[in-house]
């Protein structure tokens, strides 16, 4: 379990988080959503120990990440949006870098290298951005780490690779493991995300599991807003894409995210099963 209590953090004089408290529980594959600049990457780095909070505490499975103990670092894997391109082959990387992780699974890594069709004989620094991204993800998925922090993992992946990545990540899910995905590409990952967490204006403003969301919310195209329990809606050419406070066949996490940011009171009421009042056309999402 990773716990943040009253964390304050910022760059220079600009505060990013003030009194942020949240928990990432084992077994979850958290989808961390937020606007540009909301601090998703910074949050992952705070949880990993690459950044240090100005005040408050961070605890990851009983350790303080900021101390950067080797045991903690071997138990986590952070894949940045733009991974470093090591000037070595994948085999050399395993011998020089992965060797610091006693639980690293070489067989699984090699299998992922083949599945992602990566050119093992060439130096990683000579690969394309997408290939480097797949290489970093393969390293993370084979790391054996209990904490996986993946920043925009599907950026740069081609369509087949996204499917391969989803399958590989799904196989990684484990009751003892915490996976946190920071992403803008919600639709790439919505089959994996459970729970979803929204960061906005320095706070975790919304968190709900997939089961809870499915029991409370759905999305549908509606011609008009009246007569339906609409939490939030986005106007389009022929009507509205609406987030409804009722269970249904489909749920668009992008709409849930937009509702969490632009209509938090209505979303909270819907999740609590309370009355919201009818949504007026001028209250549609922008």
């Amino acid at each position: 379990m990773i716990t943040m209590e009253a964390v304050t953090f910022g760059y220079g004089k600009r505060p990013l988080f003030e009194g942020l408290s949240l928990t990432f529980k084992p077994g979850g594959c958290y989808g961390l959503l937020g606007l540009n600049g909301a601090g998703k990457t910074s949050l992952l780095k705070l949880a990993a120990g690459a950044l240090l909070p100005a005040s408050g505490s961070v605890d990851a499975f009983g350790r303080t990440p900021g101390r950067r103990e080797a045991a903690h670092l071997a138990d986590l894997c952070f894949v940045p949006e733009d991974p470093a391109p090591p000037a070595m082959t994948a085999a050399q990387w395993v011998d020089r870098v992965a060797v610091f992780r006693p639980r690293f699974d070489r067989l699984r890594f090699n299998a992922l290298m083949r599945e992602f069709e990566l050119p093992a004989e060439r130096k990683v620094s000579a690969w394309s951005y997408g290939q480097r991204k797949k290489f970093a993800l393969a390293g993370a998925l084979a790391s054996g780490a209990r904490m996986l922090f993946l920043d925009e993992p599907t950026n740069g992946l081609d369509i087949p690779s996204k499917g391969q990545f989803r399958r590989a990540l799904s196989a990684m899910q484990d009751p003892d493991r915490v996976i946190v995905l920071s992403t803008h590409q919600v639709r790439d990952l919505e089959s994996l995300i459970d729970p979803v967490m929204v960061i906005h204006q320095g706070k975790a403003v919304f968190e709900a599991g997939a089961e809870e969301l499915a029991a409370r919310l759905s999305t549908a195209r509606v011609p008009e807003l009246s007569g339906r329990p609409v939490v939030a809606a986005r106007r389009d050419a022929v009507g509205y894409s609406a987030l409804l406070a009722e269970p249904g066949q489909a749920l668009d996490l992008e709409l849930v995210f937009e509702a969490a940011v632009q209509a938090p009171a209505r979303l909270s009421a819907a999740m609590a099963g309370e009355a919201m009042g009818e949504l007026k056309p001028e209250e549609a999402l922008v």
């Binding site: 998703k40 690459a50 045991a71 940045p80 949006e81 470093a84 870098v97």
Partner: protein
Amino acid sequence: MITVDANARFSPGRIALLTRNLAASELPMAVITLGIVVGLNLVTLILGGEAPINNGMSPGGGSAPLWGVGVTLVGLYYASRAFKGMHGRYSTEWLLLPATSAEKYLAALVWLFVIWPIGSAAAASAASTLLWGIQSLKGDVAGLPWHPFQRSYLEALLSYWTIAPALIAGSAVFRKNALVKTAGVASAAAVALVLVSAPFMARLFKEPGVAGNLSFMNGRWIAEGNPRFEAAANRTQLLTDIWRYAILPCFALAYAYFRVAEKEAADEVQ
């Protein structure tokens, strides 16, 4: 094969792996440089009858000081790159590599103060001996090939010990061009130190005048009468030697350690 215990708070195995990685990433440049130096000297040896890099050999024990200067300068260049990995856009990967900050720091010291001085001296000796051997076959040789057990090299090592820590500290501070920036900052600091300390030094050593006599390193600038630079008295020299060979290097190394230990990932908001 080196193995690591992930739960160990301090692991010599991890330091060995980190040192090996540093050597593996840095040595290609030194090997290529050495190859070019040896190749050029072989050409001049074949065409002109001598290897310039071996010049200065004396019958009394050998010298060829260029070898010692070369390995020292390359070592200083490496010192200025000791912590380059912890800066910039890929700093997060460096910070989160599963080894403690102390291990990453000690690995850099082992590489710069043990592996490099010994390995480079051995390689330079071998290269000098090769050129010397070829020159001997041509019957045109004086003295011995370069070897590290001589005064000039030991003095160069002493200078290395005093300068490398400053460059290591610089590499922990500056993201780019640490060598040039550290040299600039160190020069400015030395001048400022002289200007600030001059009145106190003059009073301490009971020399007449305040701004007239400036104590600097192992000597003093005498402004009165015939302006000149004079070797310092023993007392001054002792203090400056302690300052130069003990306090400053240790301070620089300690400063570098705390910079490494407290380093955060590069600023980035997304």
